[in-house]
């Protein structure tokens, strides 16, 4: 996959901050630095789907933040529409919330602030195969 451009990273950071504004001990999406891991989240997607999502995010990032928040809020009830009527809204949800939340909450931020902020510590001692 081609690495994201700086403009694309800024777009994702803007949308990410709408979804995860930070506060109360948690960094905002942009402040966490996890945008550098977005390629990992996107590289398994079919190329056409990935390009469509990147284009959409680049377009959405032109919107002012309050309008972006309104768009995501309006998407919430619309994603419950049955059948193909709800499909574009559910796909938008997967592309935005799905990608942003997966990257942010995976615990891959360099300083571990996100998992520390939600007090999540998962441990399993590895064992080498015989």
């Amino acid at each position: 996959m081609t690495p994201l451009t700086e403009r694309q990273r800024r777009a994702w950071n803007k949308i990410g901050d709408v979804l995860i504004p930070g506060g109360r001990g948690l960094p905002s999406f942009s402040d966490s630095g996890v945008v550098q891991h977005l390629e990992t989240a996107l590289e398994s997607s079919p190329p056409d789907d990935r390009e469509a999502l990147l284009t959409l995010v680049s377009v959405l990032a032109w919107l002012p933040r309050p309008l972006l928040a309104l768009l995501v809020a309006v998407n919430t009830p619309l994603r419950r529409l049955p059948g193909m009527a709800g499909a574009p809204f559910r796909l938008l949800d997967m592309g935005l919330r799905g990608v942003v939340f997966t990257v942010y909450y995976a615990g891959v931020d360099e300083q571990g602030r996100v998992h520390a902020g939600i007090d999540c510590h998962i441990h399993c001692e590895p064992v080498e195969d015989n």
Binding site: S44, T76, Y105, C124, V127, D129
Partner: protein, 472 residues
């Protein structure tokens, strides 16, 4: 390997392909296994959800139905779904098998007939009922609610050998592959034995199609961008419901197989999260320890699962965004989770999207909505009885048990695979995975896929196979 003609090619390395390879190699046959995913040593499994989704699952864990109403999680890794599942291993009951017998016309689908296949598979695995003291507070709450309301529950039986939860290990980690080789996934059980017995494996090789001939089957694939071709006297598709169906369709066999792609089921899951004023730590220790065991639920077509997920999964399953969503996630340790898994009866359909990918039509029909409502009503009662402060319903529908598409049966009009696991009319081509299922059983399918693989091995070899004399 180039141009060699194996006795068997097996496509896929999960709960169907793994046991089959073990018994075919034990009988002295040359077997080549092709797996689309990569191979990991246990300690190399990803240690976070982002990497796990990317490296162990098809499409990063976001396979969707055509209307995006379902998200399907399926393994793309050596060991298949058994690497990313929870290894919850239950036998099918008469309710499930009698339905299969009726649909397929096969008497082999019965509790008595399946018993020796289950015995054989279980003799190769280490199975443990999760002790009550190993259940975390999410399990305690589940049990507390069930007992207060008079519902039946039971400890889960899991394929595991040395999780050492008492030493502080958290089993939620093994949703991304078990780093301790404790979870009884195929690579540490059947596949390990098969390789000792001569199984050859090619990973990172996606099969695009096949050509069935009188003497052999040619399998076409791609490995790291390079076209590959493999030859086998017989080929067994064990690539899962979606994978095996896709390969048959891509090979141009749909016109000969009118039932191909039909009858897709997935045990739709309706996830709820509840917020408590006390620490629950649902992600700690044996995060799945108990199950519903109530004939009323079984008859009503649902089961309730004591379950949880990592922070990324919880965040996506929770609706909303912004400050409110952040505040719920800050209370991650105060969250409990129970989900309804519905025994679906509205069949879906697997087809192609015209670009080489899948198109999966699957909807939640009226029976599924009714069953889900019944289960959710019980869950609300449980949460109320145990002091939950807030209940959240996830809008995301998940399908983890992907079944059907190549149903087994006698009638070519309604099945793809005959009683001997051969594709109808194609004597050198077989299917052995959950795509064989005639309908949804309402019980975790993994153990039964392995048991069917034992039966399939007997049919292929033409002789009964005894259970292993001692446990693994």
């Amino acid at each position: 390997m180039a141009d060699r003609c194996y006795d068997y090619i097996i496509v896929g390395s999960g709960a169907g392909g793994g046991p089959l390879a073990r018994w075919l190699t034990a009988a002295g046959h040359s077997v080549l296994m092709l797996e689309a995913g990569s191979r990991f040593q246990s300690h190399e499994h990803p240690d976070n959800e982002l990497e796990a989704n990317n490296r162990l699952m098809w499409n990063g864990g976001m396979d969707a139905s055509r209307d995006a109403g379902f998200m399907f999680l399926r393994g793309k890794v050596f060991g298949g779904g058994t690497v990313i599942n929870q290894a919850l291993l239950d036998r099918f009951d008469a309710r499930a098998l009698d339905s299969w017998a009726e649909r397929s016309g096969l008497d082999e689908f019965s509790v008595d007939a399946m018993a020796r296949h289950y015995d054989a598979v279980e003799s190769e695995l280490t199975l443990e009922h999760i002790p009550r003291e190993n259940g975390n507070r999410n399990a305690e709450l589940y049990v507390d609610g069930f007992e207060k309301l008079g519902y039946g529950w039971a400890p889960l039986r899991r394929g595991q050998s040395h999780c050492r939860v008492d030493q502080g290990n958290d089993c939620i980690r093994c949703l991304g592959g078990c780093p301790r080789a404790s979870k009884q996934s195929m690579p540490v059980t059947f596949l390990a034995r098969a390789e000792q017995q001569g199984l050859e494996v090619v990973t990172d090789c996606q099969v695009d199609g096949l050509s069935h001939g009188r003497q052999q089957v040619t399998v076409f694939g791609r490995q790291q961008g390079r076209a590959r071709r493999f030859f086998g006297r017989r080929c067994v598709l064990a690539a899962g419901s979606l994978g095996s169906t896709r390969i048959l369709q891509a090979s141009g066999l749909a016109p000969e197989l009118p039932a191909l792609g039909k009858g897709f089921y997935c045990h739709p899951q309706f996830v709820t999260l509840a917020l408590y004023d006390r620490i629950i730590d649902a992600h700690k220790g044996s995060f799945q320890a108990v199950k519903s065991d109530d004939e009323r639920f079984r008859a009503a077509g649902f089961k309730l699962e004591n379950v949880f997920m990592g922070p990324s999964g919880a965040a996506y399953l929770m609706p909303g965004f912004g400050a409110k969503h952040r505040d719920l996630m800050r209370a991650y340790r105060n969250l409990a989770c129970i989900e309804v898994a519905v025994r679906d009866v509205t069949p879906g359909r697997i087809g192609g999207d015209g670009r080489g990918g899948l198109r999966i039509d699957k909807r939640v029909g009226a029976p599924e909505r009714q069953r889900a409502r019944a289960g959710l009503n019980v869950i609300h009662d449980i949460y109320r009885a145990t002091g939950a402060r807030k209940v959240v319903h996830s809008p995301v529908r998940i399908g983890l048990h992907l079944m059907g598409g190549c149903a087994q049966g006698r009638d070519r009009a309604t099945s793809v695979v005959n009683p001997d696991f051969q594709v109808h009319g194609l004597p050198n081509l077989y299917v052995m995975d959950a795509s064989l299922f005639p309908d949804a059983p309402g019980i975790n399918p993994s153990l039964s896929i392995m048991a069917l693989a034992h039966r399939a091995a007997e049919r292929l070899l033409g002789e009964p196979l005894d259970a292993r004399p001692e446990a693994a």
